[in-house]
Symmetry: C2
Subunit: 235 residues, 2 copies
Amino acid sequence: MSLLLISNSGTPFLEQCKPEITAFLRRHGARRLAFVTAANLHDEVTYWQRAREALEPPAPAGCDVEVLHLRWNHDPMPTLQHADALFIGGGNTYALLKRLREAGLLEPIGVRVRAGLPYLGSSAGANVAGPTILTTNDWNVVGLENFRALGLVPFNINPHYLETDPAMAQHSETRDERIREYHVVWQNPVVGIEEGTWLRVEDGRATIAGRGRVKLFTRDREPRWLGAGEAFDLA
Amino acid sequence: MSLLLISNSGTPFLEQCKPEITAFLRRHGARRLAFVTAANLHDEVTYWQRAREALEPPAPAGCDVEVLHLRWNHDPMPTLQHADALFIGGGNTYALLKRLREAGLLEPIGVRVRAGLPYLGSSAGANVAGPTILTTNDWNVVGLENFRALGLVPFNINPHYLETDPAMAQHSETRDERIREYHVVWQNPVVGIEEGTWLRVEDGRATIAGRGRVKLFTRDREPRWLGAGEAFDLA
């Protein structure tokens, strides 16, 4: 398996990690990238166009790849079969997982990625690579009732990780307090990924890259910071 | 029905709204307040003691009321029956709703409050007064699958509401964007309640009080600010 799990919102779209995406796709000889827009609750076609504009131009402006639109509700299987890499874009994580499940896409995506299809996921698209999505920052605006996700990695993800969030109200829970609450109930590690930072998951290890850091939360242990170039084992 | 729906975290506990709580309880002649600690995932007894210390002393230091501990998992029904007012405290909203449902408390609480039992809810305890809890700021760390709440009011609540400065919040969704996503799926209004602010719900109207404001989000309309002393109809 080869995964790139990205925490990189803001504009320009994916700006921070284009060189890494280009290198990742080239290493796998990928020419046709299926872009999944199901996390977007407002306008999926515009979102796909945004991805095309960012990723199709030759490097270094883009990533030199054809961007196919994988629409969860419009004949997605041929697009998935035709692609030689998959990118699940960000948006609302609950909407994304609900739609992937309703479209019957979770299993075929899991099968292909486990067989070697390069997987890129940004924000919500990184969250669904974990066992569950219960450490997303999003609201469950779709009322999703089943939180099991692709389970490509054994840890949960918290993208856009911040030790304290300026968007929070005074006195409200920090991310660390939320993750501590999560660990009252669940056993698996949680990986907070700062902005502009990503994990490259290959050969049973996750390696940190980008401008920020990653904070690894293991139940009943002190959390641990990892910077670019450092790695941890998945097992 | 008489409800006080409070957005007031931080220390000292409930400091901002003690005079209002005292007046509310006195108006109903309430002497025994059942305090529900089920939203707390860490130490419910300590939480109840904190509520006692804040609410039991004579006014104005406290609210001059006996505070009973209503434990969801320890014989809650006699406590509910013995109380003449109910206070559901804050914490994790998903844990709270899950425990109230598992304990079979949703229906008896709903019946008693609809029959006139004064209801006070802070943060998570305010959220569960709405039709669903899907506009809480909390994470669903307990994996709750059924989001229907008490439905005492027809609107959803977002406590600790902040209109975020987009320059401050690193690209992450503002509350308004999250509520806009909610309204892609759901019809009912959402009421954002700023810190130190609360709604008094009586006679089919909600009246704003406290030091902050309330922002009323109605689907397909511009949101509307309301300040202390202003009111809106529930219908």
